[in-house]
Symmetry: C2
Subunit: 362 residues, 2 copies
Amino acid sequence: MMTYPWPDVGTPIDAISTPMPVIDEDRLSANIIRAQSYLDDQGKAFRPHIKTHKIPAVARQQLEAGAIGINCQKVSEAEVFADAGFDDILITYNILGAAKLARLKALNERVARLSVVADSETTIAGLAATFDVSRPLAVLVECDTGGKRCGVQSPETAVALAEKIAAAPGLVFKGILTYPAPAGAETVEKFLSETMELLAGKGIDCPIRSSGGSPDFYAAHLVPSATEHRAGTYVYNDRSMVRAGHCNIDDLAMHVLATVVSKPTADRAVLDSGSKALTSDLLGFSDYGLIEGYEGAKIVSLSEEHAVVDLSGCSSRLEIGDVVKVVPNHTCVVSNLFDRMVFHRNGIVTRVEKIAARGTVW
Amino acid sequence: MMTYPWPDVGTPIDAISTPMPVIDEDRLSANIIRAQSYLDDQGKAFRPHIKTHKIPAVARQQLEAGAIGINCQKVSEAEVFADAGFDDILITYNILGAAKLARLKALNERVARLSVVADSETTIAGLAATFDVSRPLAVLVECDTGGKRCGVQSPETAVALAEKIAAAPGLVFKGILTYPAPAGAETVEKFLSETMELLAGKGIDCPIRSSGGSPDFYAAHLVPSATEHRAGTYVYNDRSMVRAGHCNIDDLAMHVLATVVSKPTADRAVLDSGSKALTSDLLGFSDYGLIEGYEGAKIVSLSEEHAVVDLSGCSSRLEIGDVVKVVPNHTCVVSNLFDRMVFHRNGIVTRVEKIAARGTVW
């Protein structure tokens, strides 16, 4: 049986078999520092979302820079990070069902500061029936401030749920949460401040007001009521983050290395980075990633192991065997496809980290 | 450290934590038999593509039904199946670069019948420099018969490459290959038969003519020159295959179990099957999968761990905590996200198979 030879430290990334995402260490560090400094300046706490990297060692870099804890989306992700010693974990998800609640309870026994969100009486009832006063669970109410995903629709409903949480012996109401936050900052601020006022009127403490989102991360100060911000994508950055004005092309820490495997016509090249390397996430783009250094080349379609590139608008030559660097539209979903992540500095491999929370399924 | 408890045999699938794809054993078997019978009737060989399931045990079912061998897309996938004892493997990919060629050479030492494709002089030069007469490699020329992905553009070019292969001491020219095939069957047939005629004129034997594709699998007989057909998706089937007329809703072997985790408004429900469970593959649809039994419910957007469902066109009720069965748009990319696959018969778990070739990266 042959096992896959991940590159050794010191290997030039040019020698790595493709398709393979790689992370630039210096850009990674700079992204972490820059985001932390901004929130430090605003007097806000930072809680990075680990969904982007799923790697404890990277989350440790985020904590060392000043983050107060981490944000997970699944109980199973939180379990991996608890195993790695993380002691302040927020799971921004409605946890439902006997099996997941039992795992959440076990997790709460061993994580110093664990919290979850709820946006319905059903979720709160399940949590209330699971936890007791001997080891209560912290719960935040998720608010829909315009993101149209999860979350209560009004400050009044947020308060009604906060009261249910506060009334449950095994639960502690810790605050309110929204995602995404800064888009339409005025609306978000209004929702949060109105909820805080209503809660204060009822004598309910609301210490945490958590906002979230990477694309307009640097607008977090427009929501003064928020005490903490959550973001994931900023750590690697991607094409969607450049478009959002969050970063420049020089801040992109992730590239997907790909090889030209076919050039059937003068205007068509085929890369080995298909949807099983880049994913089909468009995020509003009309093509599937940027090929760095080949302006005008357009990845017009993906099949599972092929990317078809239209070269008709590109003046640079691209030939069979050339290795290119693709900037993915969305970095978080790329991490989710690989078992390990290769890091490098100036093109030389520095470490290979297991993507420990990939493939955890609940 | 807590490890993930995959369900035991005998567990009802209702008790499985979501999101989770499950495979119906009876539909799987029926899909395998039906496709094999059709090609048997046409006198064509069947070479299933393992990209859909990546599981040796499922490929074994395909061989037991009469398939002549398997089709892989990557050297690393072929290595996994070679480890599992498969001895007839076609890799439908241009293999380039020293590292991959070295692995391919090692693979050829231990697989009785290994073959690859090439569509350029560059690919053939790499293969020719790697293999020698002591253990030659079988090579097919990939032809673009309208799929506009890889492949030579004319029968004349196919013949020129066949001559290069035939002239290399370490390579054996085995035939020609196209994907997808039956769409525009006349064009495909014309390309194949013209190439065969030109090859015959030069005294070059062309024993294998391989066509491929699942959506119009049952049109394979419209390409009489093809001796074998390759297909992957047919084994599980998906929403795109129903649309293509390949199968009915009762032939769908894969469903993704998902839980309603939020219902912020009367018309909006949120499932826990996001893009990290379903992928964002649209395949021409405007939404991200069908919720079985909830006609008119529309999965309008995915984020990584959430699917937003518009219920405005759905008369059935969907409440928080309900578990639903989602028919994915594309089954092959779902398999690629999970480490194991759960199989069931009539809703009772029969086995849990490791998705052995997932995460193999070259």
